[in-house]
Structures are given as structure tokens and as C-alpha cells.
Amino acid sequence: MGAEQEQEQLEKEKEKEPDENEDTMDRGYNLNDNVDILAEIMARLDGRSLGVAACVCRLWSTVCKQDRVWEALCDRHVIGGAGDPGTRSVVAALGGYRRLYRLCLGPALDRLTCSGETTNSDKQGWAHLSLSLSLSLFSIDCYERLEGKQRPASLLFLCKPVNVA
């Protein structure tokens, strides 16, 4: 009885299998099932695209808010010392890469790229902001926040519109 039942079950499962195979083939591969791959892709986006991606759905919003995604973005745009574990802990202590990009690097890069009426090679050089400078500015912002200021103002100068007249 045991062997017959087993065989019955196996046959049933074999009957099921083709159906299940069809199901998975119909559904295809879903990126949302593989969050780490999603994060890897996000890590290659630029700042604005990351912001847009964060508005797609809750899952994407969570992934886009991970600091390592922003760390990869920041590392691409700075020269010197990026990816250092020491740097990572300092940035985390000061507020995280996402905040660093939002307050310092993003506006600074916008400012540098739009102010460059220079040749392409110059533009590339300028697209790499010094890590030490951006961290210095970031640390001042962190310091002002310690006071409990609602809107620390030391980085507002980066948001000013540039006069290109």
C-alpha cells in the first residue's frame, strides 16, 4: 500500500509540475523578489533617478533609502579616500551618505556642472569633488544640528541659484 500510494503521489506531482512550470514561465523573473539585486542596480543610478525610484512603491522606497546605495553614488563622485571603512563610520556618525548627498554633494555637483562652460575634460575633472571638502562642510552641518536647530543654515549657500549672467 505504501509503495502504491507513493507512486500515486509522484504521478500527481508530475502532473502538477508541468502546470507549475507554466506558471513560473508566465510570471517571469520578478526583480522585487531579489532585493539585493535591486539594490545593486539602484547603486548605479544618479541622484535624481534615485529620488524618482524612491517614489515608485514602498519596497523601492525602502531600498533607495539604504545608505549603501547612496554610498556607492557618493563614491563615484569624489576623489580620495572613498570606500575606506574609516570614512564610512565617520560619515555614518555625521548623518549618513544619503544626507551627505542631499545637502552637500548633490547641490555642489549641480553647481559645478552648470558653472562649467569649460571643455569636456575639465568638466570631468570638476565632477569629482574633493572628499575632504565635502566632509568638512557636512561636519559643520552636523555640528549645527547638534544645537537642535530646525534648519541649519551653513549649507544653504549651496542651494542658492547661480547667476550665470
Binding site: S89, L94, R111
Partner: protein, 528 residues
């Protein structure tokens, strides 16, 4: 230290809310006239028509031309009225040409008024120098009339307005010194609205960082702590130093707080908090002193084996006196600075000559310097009107000090870089070249700040930041000779003093208020 009095006004330095700002502005003589958007015209419309290197001859020619005080040749009023009418009504092609002519005429009139204002300022200053108060007073009245017809929101009108006001104060009133909290607020607004102070801090930090290489115990003495905005960047840079951060001590010198609130200690708390978060061993000490020459070296507790950096941002000029008088307090201060054998002394000063013995020379220099300064302020266009207004008040206080005060009250005795170089070299300090890193960082900072007008230059290993090729602020670094020799034992005295001895050790997360705390505490090297 400077024009701080023990004023009883208690204005919170942190939150800059509306009514408080109005109070500060009202105290400085501002009404609420700055309501509309700032009319930023092209500064070159109001450029003074002289060759800067030929200032003295120009002034002489102006003074000899004007023999007696004549009534102002006021521009006829009707032209203003028709110009505005023309603009308001729809223009047809014929009127177009006419309005262009009118606008050109308007500009020419304003230029003439600007020139006339400068003329009047010079004459009035000369009258003040000759103690001819009657003539000076009448000229001030004349200037006020003229100022009411000129655009005082920008350009020469604004600068002339401030100088005329300063002359008025010199003749009629005595200048009231600012309270500490008011000064801090103005300083903060000035810090945010233009890059001079940021440039100063970042360049000094770079020099200090380079000098501290290889040392495990470092000590920074800040001559003017204010809100400690310079130090977060240094703390962060030391945290990221290859080889790990050293044990950092900061000694902040500042004026005593009038209302019992210990401002120095609060700043120390915040710096300690920041240092704790980035895992830098940190200790802070505050020294309250009204003047720098009240500070004695033993209060700073410099110990053996630690690298000392002395940082002075816009402070040394307050120790100068009239060039003829000796000895000046600066000499004794420089002496003890050299005595503690610092690895680096960073000196940031205004690049101007406002300590000349004759009043008219000082006045002319100041007029030129602050015109450029105000131009740059307009050019960088700060975020809020209020911020710009407060930054202007900050500069106005300097102007008033230069123009109105004499003797001990005059503390804004700016001297140019060349004179500082001579003075510091005579005191026994050796210059340190600031290096290309500092230059690159400064250039990058300026590109971020604004891409118009500012220029960084290197002069003899010192950096200057200027506006349109006129340097306005200079940063230089120095070191004591034989800086590797360990300091004298006489400087190591753990003693009590009447000033606040506060050592806040961030690793223990508690406040050590005992003034018997021995410096050089080795037991604090606990890894968090």
C-alpha cells in the same frame, strides 16, 4: 576682546527670530526700510573714477578743488517724474527712444550724485581731521539730503550712507559697543553670507592638519572661539587621518558671558559631542578673557610632548595701537606665543591698512576697502534679505569703529599682510608655506560658493581671498623656530585660575568641573 561691553541686553544667540533681529537692527540704526527685494545693479555703474594706486593725489585734487562749501547742485526733480511716467505708460517707438535717453540721463545723474557724495565724504573727513566741527556738521547735513535722492540700496549709495552715518556718529554721539551675544549673531550671519570666514577656517585647518602630522597628542588654542564653527571640520579631518585620530585638546578663548550662561562651556559640549560621535578623543577648556593680553600662558596649560597650534582669526589686529606708541600689547602676546613653541600659528587678517596715523588716510582706505566688501556681499547674493542686512550691520560696526573711535576704543586696526609678515618675523616666527592643497581647496570652495568675482591668490606662501583682484582677507601660517624642542617646564603648571577651567572629557561622557584636573590625562585613552 574688542568692543564687547557688559551690555544687559539678553538676545538669544541661537534662534534668529524676527523680533530679535529687528531689535538688533534697530539698535544699529536700521529702520524697516529694507522691505523690498534688493536692487542689485551693476556695481560698475557706481565705480569710483580713480586709479586705486593714485589715491592720495586724487584726494588732494578733490580737496583743493573744493574751496568752500557750496549748496548741492541738486538734479531737477521733474526729470524723475517724467521718467517714471514714461515707464508706466505704454511706449510707442518715439517714446522708446526718449525713455532710453531718460534712462541714460538718470544713470548719469546717479553717477554724478555718487561722485558728489564721495567728494562730500572726503571734505567732511578732512574737516573732522582739522577739528572743524561746524563745517563737518553742515557737510553731514548736505550728505543726508543728497542721500535721500540717491539709490541707497546698492552700490556707492549704500557705502556712502554708512560712512556718512559713521561721520555723524563721530561728530555727535559716542559709539556704543556691541554686546557679546549681538556680536555673535552678526558674526554668524556674516559667516553664512560670504565666503571670507569659511575660507579663513578651511585654510587654517589645512595648515593645522599638515602641522599635526605624526603627533599623537595635539592641542589647539583658539583666540576667538565664538560658536566654534571652525573646529567640526578639523575634528572630522583628524578622525579620517591615516593612522587614526590623535588625542585632541581645544582651548577656546572668548569673552565672559554677561548673564551667567557659560557660552564657552556650551560650545565645548557641542564640540565634545561631535568628537564623540566620530570617535576622536577630545578635551576642551574655556578661558574667559575680555582682552587677549589678559590671557597668560599658564592658563593654557601647554604640556610637553604635544603639538600646539595657535589659531587667530581676525584677532591680532585688536592688539595693535597707534604706530607711534610703544610698547603695544601685540608684542607681549607674540612673545608668549613664541614661548609655548607652537608647531603652527595660523593668522588670518583683513588685507587693509586701517591703522594709519592720520584720519583722512584711514578714512580713504576704509572707504575703498568697504566699497569692495559691500560689492562682494551684493554679488554673492545671500539667501535672505535679513541675513544680508545683518552681515551689513557686522561690517557697519567695523566701519564705525574705524571712523568714530580713537585710542583704546579703536580696535579695528587692520594692517596689510606685508606688515604682519614683518611683525611676526621680528617676533621670531618662521613662515610656513601654505601649500597647493590649501590653494586647491580654497579654489574649490569658491567655485561652490559663487562663480563670480571672488579670486584666490598666493602671495609668498600666504593665501589671499579677494573680490575682482582686490585682496580683502589674507591667511598665513607660521611656526616657532626649533619647534621640535620640548617646551619649557615652566609652562606646565596645573594651577587654578579665576577664569573658567572646564575640561570636558568626551570619553567619560560626564562633565569634569573640577579645576584641579591635570592636563595630559593618559588614562582617557579608552576605545569606545
Amino acid at each position: 576682546m574688542g568692543p564687547y561691553g557688559s551690555d544687559s541686553t539678553t538676545i538669544a544667540s541661537a534662534a534668529c527670530s524676527g523680533p530679535e533681529m529687528d531689535a538688533i537692527l534697530a539698535g544699529a540704526g536700521f529702520g524697516t526700510r529694507l522691505s523690498g527685494p534688493c536692487n542689485v545693479t551693476n556695481a560698475s555703474d557706481y565705480s569710483l573714477p580713480f586709479n586705486p594706486s593714485d589715491l592720495t593725489t586724487w584726494v588732494d585734487s578733490m580737496l583743493t578743488d573744493l574751496t568752500s562749501a557750496t549748496t548741492a547742485n541738486l538734479p531737477p526733480q521733474p526729470i524723475h517724474a517724467t521718467w517714471t511716467n514714461q515707464i508706466c505708460s505704454p511706449l510707442n517707438p518715439i517714446d522708446h527712444a526718449a525713455s532710453h535717453v531718460l534712462m541714460a540721463q538718470q544713470r548719469k545723474e546717479e553717477e554724478d550724485s555718487g561722485i558728489r557724495l564721495v567728494h562730500l565724504l572726503m571734505t567732511c573727513a578732512d574737516a573732522v581731521q582739522r577739528d572743524n566741527t561746524g563745517l563737518a556738521a553742515s557737510l553731514v547735513d548736505e550728505m543726508r539730503v543728497l542721500l535721500s535722492r540717491v539709490n541707497t540700496l546698492s552700490g556707492i549709495g549704500k557705502v556712502a550712507g554708512y560712512f556718512a552715518d559713521a561721520l555723524f556718529r563721530r561728530i555727535y554721539t559716542t559709539e556704543v559697543p556691541l554686546s557679546t551675544s549681538e556680536y555673535e549673531v552678526l558674526y554668524h550671519q556674516f559667516y553664512e553670507s560670504c565666503p571670507y570666514l569659511k575660507f579663513a577656517h578651511f585654510t587654517a585647518n589645512q595648515a593645522i592638519l599638515e602641522a599635526f602630522e605624526g603627533y599623537d597628542r595635539v592641542h589647539v588654542i583658539d583666540f576667538s572661539l565664538m560658536q566654534g564653527l571652525q573646529w567640526p571640520a578639523l575634528i572630522q579631518a583628524l578622525a579620517l587621518r591615516p593612522g587614526g585620530p590623535p588625542f585632541l585638546r581645544i582651548t577656546g578663548i572668548g569673552p565672559p558671558s554677561p548673564d551667567g550662561r557659560d557660552a564657552l562651556r556650551e560650545v565645548g559640549f557641542k564640540l565634545a559631542e561631535l568628537a564623540r560621535s566620530v570617535r576622536v578623543r577630545f578635551a576642551f577648556r574655556g578661558v574667559a578673557a575680555n582682552r587677549l593680553d589678559d590671557v597668560k600662558p599658564w592658563m593654557l596649560q601647554a604640556t610637553q610632548g604635544e603639538a600646539v597650534a595657535v589659531n587667530s582669526v581676525l584677532q591680532l589686529h585688536r592688539l595693535l595701537t597707534d604706530p607711534a606708541t610703544t610698547p603695544a600689547p601685540i608684542d607681549s602676546v607674540l612673545e608668549w606665543i613664541v614661548g609655548i613653541r607652537p608647531k603652527v600659528v595660523t593668522v588670518v587678517e583683513q588685507e587693509a591698512d586701517h591703522n594709519k596715523p592720520t584720519f583722512i588716510d584711514r578714512f580713504t582706505e576704509a572707504l575703498f576697502y568697504y566699497s569692495t566688501m559691500f560689492d562682494s556681499l551684493e554679488g554673492s547674493r545671500p539667501q535672505h534679505q535679513r541675513q544680508m542686512a545683518l552681515a551689513e550691520v557686522y561690517l557697519q560696526k567695523e566701519i564705525c569703529n574705524i571712523v568714530c573711535c580713537e585710542g583704546e576704543n579703536r580696535v579695528e586696526r587692520h594692517e596689510p599682510l606685508a606688515q604682519w609678515q614683518t611683525r611676526l618675523a621680528n617676533a621670531g616666527l618662521h613662515p610656513v608655506h601654505l601649500g597647493s592643497n590649501a590653494f586647491r581647496q580654497a579654489s574649490m570652495l569658491l567655485t561652490l560658493f559663487s562663480d563670480e568675482g571672488y579670486c584666490v591668490e598666493e602671495v609668498d606662501g600666504c593665501l589671499t581671498l579677494g573680490w575682482h583682484s582686490r585682496p580683502l582677507i589674507s591667511a598665513s601660517a607660521w611656526r616657532a623656530p626649533d619647534a621640535d624642542v620640548s617646551p619649557d617646564d615652566s609652562s606646565v603648571i596645573a594651577s587654578n585660575s579665576n577664569n573658567c577651567n572646564i575640561i570636558i572629557n568626551s570619553n567619560h561622557n560626564n562633565n569634569n568641573n573640577s579645576s584641579n584636573n591635570v592636563s595630559g590625562s593618559d588614562d582617557n585613552r579608552i576605545s569606545v
